[in-house]
Symmetry: C2
């Protein structure tokens, strides 16, 4: 690991070469490297926090970044440094994702095919303010035997240097090749890196929607992630009223800035006066602004104790395609599950969509029809998360239609390879009038 002034191409080539050596290291060798990284960051806490304070001071002084980004940058916040260390220990404790055999077939006597998991190769991680991502991604890369190129934002440059120096020194004492984690701080390195498809196999942007969209548009290699998280929830006429209040409150208000927060509420017309008023009252009490279509506004106006003109707004078409990331909810009246499916497939972002209904049949119809990574029935959209889903870590949430979809754990950093071993067989030995393949599935 080296904080280089190397060109993007040099860094990428070096990562590619070392990725092959990294791919051959044992589980123990990779876990020992994670222990070394954990210890080094633990011992380097004072220096890292001092460097981070410089970033905070400079960023606050030049006023170029928002308070929320400043908060993300701040490693001295209670528990944040310990969480970073715990994250490394957690990743170390995960089962080794390398070399898992998931298919064995005897093609013929003594000709055995095996499919096994292996690292993808070289990951390019582009991140913005949060400096702890360096440690997080470096540990995911080492665990999964992928080389990684880390490209950080300028606001976290001092923290980046301090953390990376500590990690670099730690890795030098291990079998992990030095070049397998490359750090790039050069300005304007992103565009050249996104073109180096001969060296870089996968891009993972960790930051704003704009960053993700930029990478998706520019990258010559696959990009893992999602730009938008426009999650919808459909309340069917037979939904449980109290459950609707709880689940919608959690989906909208638990963390409104998250990609898995609720943005659009679809309400069956027969639930407008029975369920929606209770939901609306609770949301309004939490400070949520409701942007309603005409029918839902009319229904709520009859049932809300408040003056509706103070708490309800008229929804525009654009509101149904907007990820508010704020205490705002678009509400639309729907005449049934098919219309809900159509609305979601047209306006949604294929991330996470939910239904509230007491009918398994209706829930299945909804889940079969909706084209999203995650389809939830009678629970909050906020469960779309790698840790909550039990993956032990989260590389990101993907709305891609190939490779990895939904909350992505370590598996998303793996691909597979085929190994075939024989004793001299050739393809010309097989066919009509010759030997026949056995294709016998063997236990794995």
């Amino acid at each position: 690991m080296s904080l280089t002034n190397a060109s993007p191409e040099e860094a990428a080539r070096a990562a590619k070469v070392s990725s092959r050596k990294l791919a051959t290291l044992s589980t123990d060798a990779r876990n020992a490297a994670l222990d070394a990284v954990h210890d080094a960051l633990s011992k380097g806490r004072g220096e890292i926090l001092a460097a981070n304070a410089k970033d905070l001071e400079r960023s606050a002084a030049n006023g170029e970044i928002s308070p929320s980004i400043l908060k993300r940058l701040d490693l001295s916040r209670a528990g944040k440094f310990d969480d970073m260390l715990k994250g490394i220990a957690d990743v170390r404790g995960l089962e080794d994702p390398v070399g898992r055999v998931d298919l064995r077939t005897e093609l013929d006597d003594g000709l055995v095919l095996q499919r096994q998991s292996c690292p993808i190769g070289v990951l390019l991680i582009i991140f913005e303010a949060r400096p702890e991502v360096i440690a997080n991604i470096a540990s995911l890369a080492v665990k999964s035997a992928n080389a990684a190129i880390l490209k950080g934002g300028k606001e976290s440059i001092e923290s980046f240097k301090a953390i990376s120096t500590a990690i670099s020194k730690a890795l030098e004492t291990t079998q992990v090749p030095n070049d397998s984690i490359q750090l790039v701080t050069t300005r304007d390195a992103v565009d050249p890196l996104l073109e180096l498809s001969q060296y870089i196999d996968l891009v993972i942007p960790r930051g704003s929607n704009e960053l993700v969209k930029y990478c998706q548009r520019k990258a010559h290699m696959p990009v893992l992630g999602h730009a938008d998280g426009l999650c919808s929830l459909y309340v069917h006429l037979d939904a449980d009223k109290s459950m609707a209040v709880d689940v919608i409150l959690d989906s909208k208000c638990d963390y409104p800035a998250a990609c898995n927060a609720l943005e659009t509420l679809l309400v069956h017309e027969d639930a407008l006066e029975t369920i929606l008023p209770h939901v609306a009252s609770t949301l309004i009490a939490q400070g949520v602004t409701l942007r309603c279509d005409e029918r839902s506004r009319t229904a709520l106006s009859k049932h809300l104790p408040e003056d509706p003109s103070l708490v309800l707004q008229n929804a525009t078409d654009a509101d149904y395609s907007t990820e508010f990331l704020d205490l705002i909810l678009a509400i639309r009246t729907i005449d049934g599950v098919d219309a809900a499916i159509d609305h979601i497939n047209t306006h949604g972002s294929h991330h996470t969509d939910a239904i509230l209904t007491s009918s398994k049949e209706v829930a299945d119809q909804f889940c079969n029809g909706v084209d999203s990574a995650c389809k939830f029935w009678n629970c909050s959209t906020r469960f779309c998360d790698g840790m909550r889903c039990g993956f032990g870590t989260e590389v990101g949430i993907s709305t891609n239609k190939v490779h990895a979809r939904g909350p992505v754990g370590l598996e998303g950093l793996m691909i597979y390879e085929y190994r075939l071993s024989g004793n001299g067989q050739g393809a010309a030995m097989y066919g009509s009038g010759r030997r026949q393949y056995k294709h016998k599935r063997l236990p794995v």
Copy 2:
């Protein structure tokens, strides 16, 4: 299925909309559609072959295409039509790839996560001369519940129309939505189609290297396939001589124009005079031209009965990066397995590479070090093939590092989705001092 004059955008949008309906059809409904397609093509044989004859006549007359492409275009060749029909029946007989559950986790009491396979959505298949690909891909799409846009080449236009009309009429009698197979014959439709990432999820080019490279460069969505198949085989010093002759002969000569044919032979320096001469004699007898580095040429000159200047050529650097697709083999002397790995990772195309050795340890070292989709030990590179590997069909061979790699069966047309069912849970119920996740793995 309609052979439309629709714009690329209209065709793609229609495919996307109908893909959601297709995704909800039962196994039986999709298999019934495959039966109908099979019957229709069987009954339409006369008309289809008449249309194909027009294509052949026109193409032969205007002299624009090569004899080998003319041969690919010809559906009247012995067995070809029956093979097409058998292909549909074979695909119909495969296990349904939709809805396979591969993960179930109880996150908490009554909160169960399930991961299950589902179609990707909309495939864009671009193919050149071979008209039977229409039937092949249409049946793969129906089986896997993916909508497909088929873009054929102008040389097969009449065959394309005849086959597609038969398939279209057949599908009209089934539950498969008409729009789920779109046929595009408009010239210049490729570029606009490759930009429609909002509707098209995956591109599968079936044709020349140039077509594949063009799609990889231009597509705004993932491309499945491989441009080059530069396969190498390394002969370690302890390889079995007779096995070396058999395996190298098969790898090189069984079908030299295939992507899995051998292009570069790496020979350990201690095998130059013991094994290589036997291999070379056999290859020369089959008409293979050998392009040798200096050491291998010197060794062969001593041992070959023929005048070496007549049968050996000097290799240039470019020969080690060339996919000959012909009876030409580049030969290079190597001082050990590490050098073989380096050569292959630098010059190869990450498709299929093989080693001949009697040592499992050396074979493992080779397989761990080589960065290719397929790593073969003591058998021919020609086994890299979906049918031979027992996948029942082959969508293509992929050198991608994400999603699908190596020979790709129906699985490559699938992705997965998460379904979570609860009874009112919200994320705020969990955490420090609150409920804890159980993350109990359930049987699938």
